[in-house]
């Protein structure tokens, strides 16, 4: 596994001949002299489900923040569908095809479920301010289409009936699912999920796994996820990257990762084995 060839062997066969949808080269960030992430290289195929694992504090969420431009990297570059994201901000990164969920759920709590999704569809609608205030036909058409689309997206997780509930009043699991729907609404090329199964029971996690696969298949998009639930990671991810102390220590298929001594060491210290894999 060459350090400067970030592709192999992560990208699944079907994506091998295509350009990676997202590519990081030597990405790193320092906080006040402290290196949080260093030399992060990865390439993700256009329809790949890829996992990012590592012990707590390894810098996984920091990487998501770098990708989505919440933080600007100190060094290295990130490309989205071949385009350099150097001068982008969070909003532009989203428009360029990157959508995410948050570890500590960030919903628009006082808005309805439907409105949450409609905010995600903001850029899919195009009527301007004047047309909105004068309620011209463009407004009605655009709003109707967006609402139908929002309902369709909600139906992935069977949440249509909750459309008019306040997002903040939903149970925890539904909030996590709504965040995924909202991210999907922005029509991304890559969906970043930050611990999507956190706080879910095994049955809910099972359902989530199926849904992530379904999303990848129906929308033909890439999914890049951070997760501590090894069952989920090993079952749905085609490639797995392992982060420790801000550095990639291993990349490979789930099977390769499970048997990688470095990974075992990172998780359990020396002389253990990855449990429940």
């Amino acid at each position: 596994m060459g350090k400067h060839d970030p592709r192999t062997p992560l990208i699944p066969e079907r994506d091998q001949d295509k350009r990676p949808v997202m590519e990081c080269v030597g990405l790193g960030i320092d906080f006040g002299g402290l290196t949080a992430v260093d030399d992060f290289n990865i390439a993700i195929g256009p329809t790949e489900i890829c996992g990012l694992i590592g012990p707590n504090g390894a810098g996984k969420t920091t990487i998501f923040n770098l990708l989505t431009k919440v933080y600007q990297p100190t060094r290295g570059s990130m490309y989205l569908e071949g385009i350099d994201t150097r001068h982008m901000n969070t909003m532009q990164a989203n428009k360029a095809g990157l959508a995410r969920t948050f570890q500590n759920i960030r919903l628009f709590r006082e808005l309805t479920v439907l409105d949450n999704v409609l905010v995600g569809l903001h850029n899919e609608m195009s009527y301007n301010l004047g047309k909105a205030i004068l309620r011209l036909p463009a407004y009605w058409r655009s709003e109707r289409i967006a609402k139908e689309r929002a309902m369709e997206l909600l139906s992935i997780f069977h949440m249509q009936d909750m459309a008019y509930h306040k997002a903040g009043s939903l149970p925890y699991g539904s909030q996590r699912r709504l965040e995924i729907v909202r991210a999907l609404a922005t029509n991304p090329a890559v969906l970043l999920l930050d611990e999507p199964a956190a706080g879910m029971n095994p049955a809910e996690t099972e359902g989530l796994m199926e849904n992530i696969k379904k999303i990848q298949e129906t929308f033909q998009i890439a999914v890049f996820l951070i997760e501590h639930d090894m069952h989920l990671v090993m079952n749905i991810c085609e490639g797995v990257a392992v982060l420790n102390y801000g550095r990639l220590i291993a990349k490979g298929t789930p099977a390769q990762i499970q048997n990688n001594p470095k990974v075992i060491e990172a998780y359990l210290g020396t002389g253990g084995g990855v449990a429940d894999a």
Binding site: T61, N65, V70, F102
Partner: protein
């Protein structure tokens, strides 16, 4: 010669701003509240000083002690009644409450003392007179103002840096949750902070009344806002920052006045505030805080 007297003016005014700014800064540092009522506590202090000197005819030292104690008590009551119930409320609610307290105090003062300004008998607090030093005449009032403020700030610095209570204060402002886990009684510390800030405000009230002897219900508003600007300029939450900010704002005001633009002083102060916030929102000595994502 003119410059020296201007400088004395600036130091006198700056001392008062610094004292008041400290109250804002400490409270902001600990519960992230812009305590809008702080200026009005000074106004109440002004009236307390006025009546303990005139109606009650107390000697200056007693009157001063009563003023400081009165301000402290008032601030603690406000904190207990209005701010404590909102400890876990959104910060905007807390700010609105503080504004409410400010309006309440102003209007109560208007109700009780009427809106007419009263003149403050400075000589009953600080005897008239001056000393001449190297050909420069220094009035007792500015001298005592500067000296008393520096002394108060020195005591404060000692309290915060060297005592156990001060350490606990710094710990709470650093991380309230962690401080609580370390066995620090957060509520006590917050009350103590308010009390300390208000005691300084009490000193500020005495010195302000002595220097600018006109007591009215709206006295605290502009003084408070300018002191807050000073705290922001110096870096809110930072104790030396508040002192530096106070003197800088006063210097700016005196400078603008000496250029013959006294009408524009308030404008200049706010212009500086806006510029500072645009260029360096953390002020001169403040620290950057990042939101965790």
């Amino acid at each position: 010669m003119l410059y020296v007297s201007q400088l004395i003016n600036a130091l006198q005014l700056g001392s008062i701003y610094a004292l008041v700014a400290l109250g804002y800064s400490m409270v902001y540092g600990i519960i992230k509240l812009l305590n809008f009522a702080h200026g009005d506590v000074i106004m109440v202090g002004g009236y307390i000083a006025l009546f303990s000197l005139t109606a009650l005819a107390f000697p200056p030292v007693i009157a001063a002690l009563i003023t400081v104690a009165g301000c402290t008590l008032l601030a603690v009551i406000i904190e207990k009644l209005a701010y404590t119930p909102l400890r876990f409320a959104p910060r905007l609610s807390l700010l609105i409450t503080a504004i409410g307290i400010s309006i309440l105090l102003q209007n109560l003062a208007q109700l009780i003392f009427t809106a007419n300004p009263r003149s403050f008998p400075t000589q009953m607090l600080i005897p008239a007179g001056s000393i001449t030093l190297g050909g420069i005449q220094l009035g007792f009032v500015p001298l005592i103002t500067i000296f008393a403020s520096l002394l108060s700030m020195a005591i404060l610095t000692f309290l915060v840096q060297k005592t156990k209570l001060g350490k606990a204060m710094r710990a709470v402002s650093e991380d309230m949750g962690a401080a609580q886990l370390m066995g620090i009684n957060v509520n006590t510390i917050i009350t103590f902070t308010f009390a300390l800030g208000a005691a300084l405000a009490g000193v500020g009230a005495l010195l302000y009344a002595a220097g600018y002897p006109r007591i009215e219900p709206t006295l605290g508003m502009m003084l408070g806002i300018k002191a807050f600007v000073a705290a922001v300029l110096g870096g809110i939450g930072s104790i030396p920052g508040a002192m530096v900010g106070g003197y800088l704002i006063a210097l700016l005001e005196v400078l603008v006045i000496s250029m013959g633009l006294s009408q524009w002083t308030d404008g200049a102060v706010f212009l500086i505030l806006i510029l500072v916030l645009m260029v360096r929102p953390t002020g001169i000595m403040g620290r950057i805080q990042m939101e965790k994502v």
